[in-house]
Symmetry: C2
Subunit: 304 residues, 2 copies
């Protein structure tokens, strides 16, 4: 089974610190690399953390705050210098293409690939990408501007054929796809062999949810229910929860509460405010609520 | 005498490397900090290298290639978060304001200071800044697009009054400014005391020249003649001088030749291509021509 990997390129909130870059992650899933948010310096982090950029064709921007997208210009520019020929698609809330247009027209004259912008609707939960066995859904968040999370989810998989049973009932090859899809088999004598006898369960569907800048929102739980890996912003510690509420961000405790409600398998914290010198308290605070939790510091990797 | 300081924030050419950030420097001169070029991540380097941003009100962009200005959006954004109230002036070739306008309109709603753009004429040597005892002149360079160097130069200074002489001739206080400016003194008896008897020479005028992306250009020598500190790009080693010629960049040897022709006191090399693993060869190559030479690596500082 292909190992899926989340790599954190930047774990800091808007104000930069010496500890971290701004938000950017790369998800390796279903044979491709997907960039999620692209804060300043993301291109340098791609290099530092050895991300294969030839497999990177899609970038998902959670919301139009600078610390989540100011790295786009530099990234596109560098990919071009590295000899890229494949197009890039940038998913974002409406407006990004329009506002980047004049800079792109100047700086990307003679670019060797196209940059497509796909705008998704604010405040909705909808499918925005479906390709290569992967689906990506938006998750409406609660922030000072329209902000979206993303759920990356394998598509429904086929059931596994039980070879010995298929041979026993002499199922013709042309019927195998029908059976993988869950269909029963009818013998020449008219006997119905139920699918459950011919197949074993499909592999479990793996999924990852990225919950970007947001106040604690229980509304999202239904969308991220049961994910294998949940990234949830935790800009603040609970001691500053008034500040979190005011700025529409979450605390580590709140992130853990959401992870618990959603029955996620693992929680990764990130988007840490520069005001905290150490991050260990984020971890201990969250673990009081949700044990399987890690810090998503710059360079951290999580398999699922 | 105030010490002037050049601090290198980014020493790399366009393609990022693990060795360096893209072009950005801060010049501390005449009581203020001046940023010269603002490649991506310059704001993080300001923090890393402890630059006092409250003294930073002016940014000079040498040319409109991304590796020299993609850091502007992030820098402005961060300065605002840090509570800045003072305006910032960005000097550049024409077009930057226009192309940044839509992004600024979105990302900088409610900015607590103004960003003024001052456009200077391409291909000219002219005074673009005159304030605080400092003048800044453009230097026309030879690159794939309009590119300018900058000369930062103290203004003409006043001569030093020789106290004992002034007392001896009973020069009235109201005449002192006239004498500092080089004027003679006429006693009540009508005797002319030449200025040279009343004053000592003014302090020498200190200057710094920043020579950004350019092919070797002897035309610039007259503009940078005698500078205390010369930064000159040296993207390539001489072994790749054909490539330098083709891309309108300089080699370390060529930078040294210009430093020698200009009779600069010290040369700093930078804008190193990522193709070279080590930078020592830049230094040895340049020193064959011009001995007082250093590598302008990220974080390096040069007093003058």
């Amino acid at each position: 089974m292909e190992k899926y990997l989340l790599k954190i390129l930047g774990s800091g909130a808007a104000l930069p610190s010496n500890l971290s870059n701004q938000s950017a992650q790369v998800l390796s899933m279903c044979g491709r690399n997907y960039m999620i948010d692209c804060g300043e310096n993301a291109q340098a982090m791609l290099r530092k953390y050895n991300v294969n950029h030839s497999k990177l064709n899609h970038i998902f921007i959670s919301h139009l705050h600078g610390d989540h997208c100011f790295g786009l210009l530099g990234l596109i520019s560098t990919l071009d210098m590295l000899g890229r020929m494949c197009d890039i698609t940038v998913f974002s809330h409406p407006g990004l293409e329009e506002m980047m247009k004049p800079m792109m027209a100047h700086f990307f004259k003679g670019l060797h690939f196209n940059v497509h912008f796909e705008e998704f609707a604010p405040g909705k939960h909808e499918l925005i990408y479906d390709c290569n066995g992967l689906e990506v859904y938006t998750v409406p968040l609660k922030h000072t501007i329209h902000s979206s999370g993303f759920v990356f989810k394998e598509k429904e998989k086929q059931r596994h054929i039980i070879r010995s049973k298929v041979d026993f009932y002499q199922v013709p090859v042309r019927m195998l796809q029908h059976i993988k899809n869950g269909g029963d088999f009818v013998t020449e004598e008219g006997k119905v062999i139920p699918n459950s006898e011919l197949t074993a369960s499909a592999d479990p569907i793996r999924s990852f949810a990225y919950i970007s800048d947001t106040a604690k929102s229980e509304r999202i739980v239904e969308y991220i229910s049961g994910v294998d890996l949940l990234f949830h912003e935790s800009t603040f510690l609970d001691i500053n929860k008034a500040r979190a509420k005011q700025t529409l961000h979450s605390t580590a405790r709140q992130a853990a509460e959401i992870a618990k409600l959603a029955d996620a398998k693992k929680l990764v914290l990130g988007h840490f405010s520069a005001r905290y010198k150490s991050r260990e308290e984020f971890l201990s605070e969250a673990r009081e609520i949700f044990e399987n939790c890690s810090l998503g510091n710059d360079g951290a990797e999580f398999e699922f």
